[in-house]
């Protein structure tokens, strides 16, 4: 019964979050920051969860894992579908260099902090192989930044399509890279974890990877046939859409990988053999994005465990500070390299919005807590959520500071 | 645009035993020419074949729309046929066709021709309507069902 109660609150919140009234509320900077980060949904999740008001007990949460598989499969297919070659070909080169820069910066900066913090947190006596997956999670969730550019706009920053795309597209590419990076490393980590030896069980993880790629190809091919058979009848479409999403999410979970990784590959294959019916499927998937986003954040709030020891909190704080330093240096490096581009980019590049954490991080952490619901993984999800909130607030603070430094450029977005 | 005024019982027929498309076209053209003043069945049949040669008018749902524009005609004629058995329409045609709506129109009013084609498309769009038409007992029943389907739409 309480599972149903929590799902009802969850959907009611999702309905409100996507209602027209809330869209208009997003015009003010703070409101759009708060809402697009999904924090209201996380707060409700925590309030309802086992650590909050205990409306949803631990046992009910595990019972709801097929719902988590459906939601994460949905996100994976949504991300995979847009990674079409025709789109990737149209992306100008600077965007790619920015993403590669971000990956290198993050692996070095965040990677080292994560390695030290995790080893210290698990007081060193577990073998390294077990920490590969948590390390991969912390690095992958640091890639990219929030793609929401609506709160960017005020009189000071000139508003044109290219500036916003220069922020949104690299972050989208980074979130695809994050899913693939985490998916691969999680395979290696899990296989070595089960064999428990120092040496990495590369053979077994290669087998799993082969199976996931085969799943993506099988689903791409059969998906196209199924979508054409569904035709224009909405009842048939709904059956096939839900079937595809749950099938790919479920099977990639069984292949001990996160549903996001398998679903993204399947979306990629399906997207690149697109027909009109596949485009109709993509519209169905993307239109529910905000509803699915709210459900992901709410499930994250329900699942996260915030009883972090002192070490856990220090690790979270270190991740936030390193992230701020990294992202601003990355942007300065990008601004120096892009001097040839229109001058209009430079004010945007110094804009602190890049500090905000990408929402894919929450989905990745939730998928790890789903595949292996241990207290450690739930605390990692808690860390990712804390880093996200802190990064959002830091971005707002730094934006206010930069306004006070250059007062002439006007105040809050109307 | 209503189909009913163009549907005369005499030009609503069930063609049995035609195994090929041309035989069906010939039978329908013969019946249509009887109602047209300035064209012989053979000429009409040739015009229909020329049009089919450009691009076959068959559809995956099994409904064909052969048509011809004849100069000097004063009105549009529609011949509604139920083919038993269904015939293979053309090389690579998606499915055998067993419903055929032959349209012979005025060449100086192509817009009216398009409207008639749109009306027919609306009538035979739903699978339920097609099944109803295909289960007609005889020509009179086929005509009654066509009128009922036409009245079912605005």
């Amino acid at each position: 019964m309480d599972l149903f109660l929590s799902i009802t609150v969850l959907v009611a919140l999702a309905l409100i979050a996507t209602s027209r009234r809330l869209y208009t509320a997003r015009r003010s900077r703070f409101a759009s920051l708060l809402i697009s980060g999904g924090w209201p949904a996380v707060l409700v999740g925590v309030a309802l969860g086992p650590h909050g008001g205990v409306v949803v007990t631990e046992e009910t949460l595990t019972f709801a894992s097929p719902l988590v598989v459906l939601v994460l499969g949905w996100v994976g297919i949504m991300v995979g579908l847009q990674a079409r070659l025709e789109i990737l070909r149209r992306i100008p080169r600077p965007h790619f260099t920015l993403v590669v820069g971000d990956i290198i910066f993050t692996i070095i900066g965040i990677g080292s902090i994560a390695a030290i913090g995790l080893a210290w947190w698990t007081s060193g006596e577990v073998n390294a192989a077990i920490l590969i997956t948590p390390w991969a999670l912390l690095v992958a969730s640091a890639l990219g930044w929030s793609m929401e550019t609506r709160s960017l706009r005020d009189e000071s920053t000139p508003h044109d399509q290219s500036t916003e795309l220069f922020l949104r597209v690299p972050s989208a590419l980074a979130s695809i890279a994050a899913i693939v990076l985490f998916g691969l490393l999680e395979l290696i980590g899990t296989s070595s974890n089960s064999t428990g030896v120092q040496t990495l069980a590369l053979h077994s993880s290669a087998l799993h990877l082969g199976a996931i790629v085969a799943l993506a190809v099988v689903l791409g091919v059969t998906g196209r046939f199924l979508l054409t058979r569904a035709g224009r009848s909405r009842a048939n479409q709904l059956t096939v859409f839900l079937g595809l999403v749950t099938f790919v999410g479920g099977l990639s979970t069984e292949l001990s990988s996160s549903p996001l990784f398998g679903a993204t590959l399947a979306g990629f294959v399906l997207g690149n053999i697109a027909t009109n019916d596949v485009l109709r499927f993509e519209r169905f998937v993307v239109e529910a994005e905000h509803m699915i986003g709210v459900i992901v954040f709410l499930l994250a709030g329900l699942t996260a465990d915030f009883h972090l020891t002192l070490i856990g909190m220090t690790l979270a704080a270190a991740l936030v500070f390193v992230r701020i330093g990294l992202k601003l240096t990355l942007m300065r490096w990008a601004a120096v390299r892009q001097r040839r581009m229109a001058h209009s980019l430079t004010p945007v590049l110094s804009h602190p919005t890049v500090i905000r954490q990408s929402p894919i991080a929450v989905a990745l952490a939730l998928s790890l807590a789903l595949v292996e619901p241990s207290v450690f993984h739930r605390r990692l999800l808690g860390i990712v959520l804390i880093v996200g909130v802190a990064a959002d607030l830091a971005s707002l603070l730094l934006w206010r500071l930069s306004r006070r430094v250059a007062p002439g450029s006007g105040g809050e977005a109307t | 645009m209503r189909l009913e005024p163009l549907l005369t019982p005499d030009l609503t027929l069930v063609i049995e035993g035609c195994s090929t498309r041309d035989a069906a076209l010939q039978a329908a053209a013969a019946r249509a020419a009887g109602h047209l003043t300035n064209i012989t069945p053979e000429q009409l049949f040739q015009q229909l074949l020329e049009r089919e040669a450009q691009y076959p008018t068959a559809t995956p749902e099994g409904v064909a729309f052969p048509h011809a524009l004849i100069p000097g005609l004063d009105h549009t004629t529609v011949v509604a046929c139920l083919l038993r058995p269904a015939v293979e329409w053309a090389e690579g045609a998606p499915a055998p066709q067993d419903l055929m709506f032959m349209m012979i129109g005025k060449d100086d009013h192509p817009w009216e021709h398009v409207r008639l084609l749109a009306r027919l498309a609306r009538i035979v769009k739903s699978p339920d309507a097609r099944r109803q038409l295909r289960e007609s007992a005889d020509a009179a029943d086929f005509h009654a069902r066509l009128v009922r389907e036409d009245r079912a739409h605005v």
């Binding site: 595990t62 059969t222 199924l226 058979r229 709904l238 479920g250 069984e254 | 007992a137």
Partner: protein
Amino acid sequence: MRSIWTIATMILLTVFAMLVRVGFGDTVFTNEVQSTLGVDPLGIPFTLPATGLVRTGASVGLLLLVAYLAGQLAQQFRLAAVTGYLGIGILLGPTALQVVGADELPYLSLVNDLAIALIALIAGGEIRLSFIQSRWRTVFTIASIEVFSVLIGSALLLPFVLNWSGITGELWTPLPIAVATICATIAVANSPAVVIAVIAETHRHSSMGRLALAVTICKDLVLVALFTVVLAVASSVIIDSEDQHSRSVALTIFLHLGGSIAAGVVVGIAMAWYTHVIKRHLGFFVVFACFGIALASEALHLEALIVAVVAGLLMQNIWPDEMEAFFEELEQISMPVYCLFFAVAGLRIDLLALSSIWHWALLFVAARGLLVWASTWAGWKLARAASGEGRWLWSALVPQAGIALALASIVSQTLAPSPVAEPVFGFLVAVIAFNQLIGPVLFKVGLARSESISQAKDSLA
């Protein structure tokens, strides 16, 4: 040509799922034991999710896709799509290809709650009060005659069948009679789900279809009350438990039915208000309304079937125009729910149990079919209804599905202490399985025949 591609896709999806489950079944997360303990890097133990639960996600996806294709295939061979969903459920089930394991059934049957509420809502929506006012006498006569003749006929025949099949030892002692009466009550059950699914699938909203639906629903309402009484009395005989007095049994039934009808009215008004005022996200709202009805009825000990039928009836007959959008959305969502509901029903059919007693079950199915035909024909003649659609009405009263299965599982739970529970459940499931497979096809033929009869009559007139 298309059906080759359909079969190829079904095989590809199923084989791939089997390969993943066989090849990678031993990974650290999925393990055979219900849920074992793991230790995380912090040294804190945690319970791993049960294998059945982890596999439910993929099984739901696989069943949806493959059942959908099987339904299309069945329609290409002039069968009812429902038979396709059931057939694929049996094929992938734990007693056949074992693609879907037995440990997943408890999680998959969550869809039953959603399906029964949704089917009952649609059934309620199909009934027009004007139709009831004009034909309630026919509906009530046929339903009552059919219920009692099938009940008494089966109750007399079953002791022999149960005896021959070795389920009950002696013949005319209290135990076999009590068991026979319970099985006879379930033999009366019908399936609004099959009636609605076949009507929706063939788009034939003829008057015979509407009459069949009204009779089926009227019978099920009577059946629910009958079942509660028979089960209470019979279980006290079988397990000698004297906890229930006959007076309190009557009271619980009255509360049970009255409460359900009242709850149905409240739910109907609430749903009408949402559809009228808010109008948005109807899809999500419909799914949650059905879950709500199912789980709330369970919690308040009401009958979800009655609550939903009353709600659907109320909405369709009081605000027909505003509720059009609601029922359109209901129809969209019914397809995936039917695919899953009938596939899961197929999964639960135990081929092993079937193999030992199928011939006795088939004998009883034939006898029941005869009883249904005779009683419907008699009821039809008695009601002196004019038009000829009555000749094929019996074909709608043969199929059995969800409700019969639900009652059978209630029987096996209530009789659990006695040794006869398991074989009786096996026998009931076998009978229901045959009715599930034959029923939809029979009704599809009956619907087509009755429509051609009424059309022949129209053209003559």
